[in-house]
Symmetry: C2
Subunit: 268 residues, 2 copies
């Protein structure tokens, strides 16, 4: 794991304990899959970072500078680049300050490929409805941490999170798609959840996906379910709690089309 840290346009060696990313989770992040030293989905990730920075009022660093630093960190191996952008340092107190942002780039090995379709847990940790933050990949992720711990504690690969009304929103680190009634469905994210880049690519590819509320029963009765994110691509689901999910030719077709469009997800 290698890291470059910027304070504004300057490279710095150490992170301040007064960084607002640490004090308040006052920032955003992106997790990109790299392929042969390149970042094929960079434009979409940077657009989301830009949109989140606009909503939070964070200073966005120069795209070229950050992209060049990312290239320095990458080598030819398949790997993951993580970018954290925070509001930078300040004194105590919630009031945002205008100052240089902190931007941290780190590389990580690509996680091992899932050997089998996923077994999911129904997380009991709810995901809170907060329209002011919905869709953003911000640094306030305690809900995800608690929900992910539930999955590990119960021996599951991942888990589905529901909002206070019981609607299915997402997995702990992925978006969810469901095939039912001859159609693909994915939850609306206007109240909570992260608008994933892989989800966005799939919605652009299949304009007939229905975006709307999904109940637990609809998911359990689906003929195919998958999770997706920008690191692992499409991940088929085989079981949720005690309920088996059979799978469907529609998923095989979608997966093939996704891999044809984004072949770097086949890198080993």
């Amino acid at each position: 794991m290698s890291t470059i840290v910027f304070r504004g346009n300057d490279r710095i060696k150490t992170l301040s304990p007064q960084d607002r990313g640490l004090m308040y989770g006052d920032g955003l992040f992106e997790t990109l899959r790299a392929s042969r030293g390149d970042l094929p989905w960079w434009p979409a990730h940077w657009r989301r970072l830009q949109s989140g920075a606009g909503r939070l009022g964070l200073a966005l660093p120069d795209e070229g500078m950050i992209h060049a630093a990312a290239q320095e960190l990458l080598d030819a191996r398949p790997q993951v680049l993580k970018i954290i952008l925070t509001r930078g340092e300040s004194g105590r107190g919630y009031l945002p300050v205008a100052g240089p942002a902190t931007c941290i780039l780190s590389t990580y090995p690509l996680p091992p490929r899932m050997a089998e379709p996923l077994r999911l847990h129904w997380c009991t940790t709810p995901i809170a409805q907060q329209p002011a933050l919905a869709g953003m990949k911000h640094l306030n992720r305690l809900e995800n941490v608690l929900a992910r711990r539930e999955c590990a504690d119960t021996g599951h690969d991942e888990g589905l999170m529901r909002d206070g009304d019981g609607h299915v929103v997402c997995a702990t680190a992925a978006n969810v798609f469901v095939h039912a009634g001859g159609q693909w469905h994915t939850p609306d994210l206007s109240q909570c959840g992260i608008a994933g880049i892989a989800r966005g690519k799939l919605l652009a590819m299949r304009e007939d996906v229905r975006i709307g509320p999904l109940t637990r029963a609809q998911v359990e009765n689906a003929d195919a379910v998958f999770l997706c994110n920008a690191v692992r691509g499409i991940m088929e689901v085989r079981r949720i709690g005690t309920v088996p999910i059979n799978g469907h030719a529609a998923l095989d077709a979608l997966q093939q089309r996704f891999l044809d469009a984004h072949p770097f997800f086949a890198d080993e």
Copy 2:
């Protein structure tokens, strides 16, 4: 501002960019008012930290070690001690790891006394209902940051935050009490908000405070309103939006009783 950083029982010089406090807001904090080199409310703050660490599954450092480090940082001036406790470093991924916690102690000057009773804003940023995190002083504080910015943008001292049902929960950095119908009221915090230490001291002092839902109309029609926190104590409210709050002898009496019990809030 001086700082001591612990990784487990070791003092370290620099904070890792892979600290989960930064990556996910995976941690807690406490803000204590110091008086003459002492921390009068230490036991209550430590109990809340311990309770939050239990709920999140964080390793709690030795109380004596942290208290001794705090004493090193303090001098005789009135000041604020902030403690941040995080789950420590890990690789990428939400799954909590078992490892040494990070504990950061910093001192800050006491903020200037409010010259006049407060003028409050009705924040439009809602506070999300999340029972899994309610009451805890955790590091996921983007809601408070956005709400605090609204107060500054509109020229107010502080602001009241409401949940998705429109119930008043708290100010951006304080709890709220309201006097109406001859009785003190304060919101229930089982769904969201921080269970403030000053709030707890007041509830222990006045067992007749009614804890329950408060509407905007109830607050606007109250005959006295105050905010409280462990740094500033009781802060009288004079106006909320365009609505004046008259004040009431019950507030003067409560404030006197509070200062008699906790005289360090009169330190200059």
